[in-house]
Symmetry: D2
Subunit: 305 residues, 4 copies
């Protein structure tokens, strides 16, 4: 799965090639094409192909011909309007394709986003490389006491070393047995069977293609502070590619999605009372303790008094 | 909705523009970009954008880097293998976007293909053009006696003239009343209400984007001889664009889908008996009369004797 | 398409039937089964079948066996948590199927929600009934001056009468010509052709099936005050069925979706300033005039001072 | 994840409960509700809920009211017609929900079917059980020499024993280290991290819900002889549930999908020549060797002479 010298040469040749096209072209994203952005210890994200740009969103919204005489400020206003009001179909008119190398346990989270096209490296057909994810010590943390699916404190160096030793030794051993079972001079076990001995931190890779609307949905959930670190770093690398590709749509996405907060009907009641100079109490608000804390956090307050 | 001289100029300017790109580029499809292929009396199909080519299918199937050293014959064999065995995900790696102008009753059939992205001209937001589909006399036919959703004999000239007169007069009149209701100097009715007075042969238009796998699904059903003529002509125009875009995938599609026939388990029994020199009868076959006729038709025989 | 006396009898028989099942059953929704809720002048919505209940959402979230010993208050808290944090998959575990009779121009908006299963009455196969939507005078309004896709003032009685006369006469005439073209003793035109002469306010009908998550998405957009009246009334009837079916999920949906407001990153800055006792101005906020107005409206204020 | 005595009691209680409903009910499937069908060494499939029956398919196809006066033979003919002509939407009107326990490497294949709703046991949130799949010796085979993703000969007993010892020891060890890392009295590592040390034969479980059309698509691919044994046995158990649920649709599926063969345009040329008494040769046919062999196999012939 890793790159042979021949493949490196091919990619560089592809990067050097220039074709002439009538299609919308984005120079800033062209710069990133065929360039692997490193993620985790052995993973990467690279843009393989794309279709459309900010103007394709505008054009679809107008279902009009050509570029028109509108100025950029109007385009920006329209894109912001579309994003704010959840008019998602114009954003579906842009498409992007990534090549990603990622640990299997990350791939299992990622694949839950169903509105994408995927071609994954097949361990029925081919032999997996000996690549596994071993966290950096600073990313090893205890189970969160307050959040059933989060992390708490970072492990002390000694404990971290013990964990890393276990992860490394088990991944090495299970891979070596995988290779032993596959060996055609020895056991020669079918690949579709031998693969079951690999651990979930083994790296796989895939082509993943989606439209801009669904890419933003993915990024909103996976670039969020509550997402698991190991998938969030992929989302962060992809945010960079989106910014290069569709700067106006990306800015609207940051403002209306990533940086936005939704207040429930009950929260709005509390908010209106606060703005009227009242001091509503958590108890009377009808909000749960957690909701109250989330709301006050979003407003930059410790409490509501 | 129709093209103003300014818009024509814009499209021609866009057609004349040439950008430099590192993306896979298909010269034969570039030729067709920004060119409206006429369909029916006022409709058209034009390719607005595309992503990928035959090689992108191969590349996804291999999830490998670059073009490799494989020869074209191997790529062709791989594409044929993928098509034959319904390995559909590699074909999902190519994407195409069309701009289509079509009658509303055709749009209502078309939209049933859900795996596509669509932006349609909005009659809530804008005023519809005075364009409606009036069939050619040779396309006016009686209801089929044998097929509840098909056509029978072509109408005689006099009857056809009567039908065309009715269609034309009603479309004219309902459109004129639509315009009267909209008139801001007069009634000034909301567009979202006035539109309900239009007939179903009024033309609309949309951007329609899909991947190659789903495009083939659409074409298999809509380029079929049993599809309604008025949607089939759109499918036929799109077949031409697919042929220019992905010639190897297109050839495999023709062989394994468009020109293929599926025989049921019972039909295979009949076939094996025929090949063994027997003369199975329709009655003993377990097939319905219609199935028997369909099967013998596919085999180029009038009956099975 | 309308109900014959025989069909009425059948529906009543079906309503009277009682089967024994081990499946989760919701008495309040059973009451509504096979009962058409009237919408507009000739339309209706009726629940034909359903799968799951509030507990199925909880069960999927826990992927646990059986009902467990949890109390209802915990279930409610969990459902609210899932809704608040956009954990949508547990809501996908419930499914509902409607039979709907609706004008074609409403059907064209509705079908844009792609994540549903649809079987529509076929005008290729069958003859459409002579049923068309004619608005009530109080629902006839002028084009909005401020909103390109909305309504303004209600028409005066005389103008409304003129509109209704036009709509009625055109629908009658085009239908009569449709019938004339279809007449097997006369022209005998194929149904798939004759239908193009019908106006967009002709009623059609379909079976529409979706899961609870996608039903809520539909209702959020279509029960909204900005949705066109003619589709909103369908959404409102369906809200009633959702309330009977899954009362806890429905209450969470009202609080966190229907009654909620999302503030952008820029709006949050304004809000924090207001809570700190400052008086941010629209000009300095970075918000557009429309955004400012929307935000202050949500906070129950005329302006931000 | 396994059943505690309390959970067993709950399931038995649920099984014993009987509710009254107006919905379509299928006694043969009710019998199977809440009953786990064992698959592999620790897996199972059980039907949790369902909506609709064969009649719901017919009803959707007719978009008519109630059961009508049609006889069962007509319903059967209609269902067979729909299946033969790929009219898939009526089959989408039925829905089924399964609870499945399955090894992770099987889950990774299964999840590629995107048109389903899934809620999987979360290893971020909960601790995985110590259950892993260890094949039976007769299911351990060498890599196929002819098929890059298949199995060849069964391993000899001694080699099989060696493989089983490796699989067992590695799964035990990695699980024990997983438990050690999780131990709150010891390392206390976050669950979302510790899980990466598990092997791919660890069992997971999920709720999986889909409509009848997509269930058939899944079964056609996964009950096929070329599917990997470990997923095929799940498909086979599900075939039994489909047979109990919708016997007419199931019979049509067997005839027109599972037992059917598609001949390409080129294959049809060969077939017509054979029926005309000619002896076309593989070389002249334009078919690849593999295609020729597949075709002759389907016709029950060793070669084409």
């Amino acid at each position: 799965m890793t790159l042979t010298p021949e493949q490196q040469t091919e990619i560089e040749t592809a990067r050097a090639a220039a074709h002439s096209t009538r299609r919308a072209t984005v120079p800033a994203l062209e710069e990133l094409l065929f360039t692997a952005l490193p993620v985790l210890d052995h993973g990467f994200v690279r843009v393989v192909d794309y279709m459309g740009d900010d103007n394709a969103v505008v054009q679809a919204a107008r279902v009009s011909y050509g570029r028109g005489t509108r100025k950029t400020t109007e385009d920006e206003g329209l894109i912001r309007y579309l994003m704010r009001h959840y008019h998602s179909t114009p954003f579906e008119m842009c498409e992007i394709k990534y090549h990603v190398k990622l640990p299997i346990f990350v791939a299992r989270q990622w694949i839950r986003h169903r509105t994408a096209n995927v071609n994954e490296y097949s361990a029925r057909y081919s032999i997996m490389d000996k690549d596994f994810y071993i966290p950096s010590p600073e990313n090893l943390a205890t189970q969160s006491a307050s959040n059933r699916q989060g992390r708490g404190d970072v492990l002390d160096p000694e404990t971290a070393a013990r964990v890393l030793a276990l992860l490394r030794a088990d991944a090495e051993q299970t891979y070596d047995h995988y290779a032993e079972m596959l060996d055609e001079e020895g056991i020669g076990l079918a690949r579709e069977l031998a693969r079951m001995n690999l651990t979930l931190n083994t790296y796989t890779q895939w082509y993943w293609k989606t439209d801009l609307h669904n890419l933003f949905n993915f990024l909103r959930l996976r670039a969020d502070a509550h997402a698991q670190y190991e998938i969030r770093v992929y989302a962060e690398a992809m945010l960079e590619t989106a910014k290069a590709w569709v700067p106006l749509s990306y800015a609207a996405f940051r403002d209306y999605r990533l940086g936005a907060v939704t207040f429930s009907a009950k929260m709005l009641d509390v908010l209106r009372a606060m703005l009227a100079g009242e001091s509503p109490s958590p108890e009377e608000s009808g909000l749960s303790k957690r909701e109250w804390a989330e709301m006050m956090g979003a407003l930059g307050r410790k409490d509501g008094t």
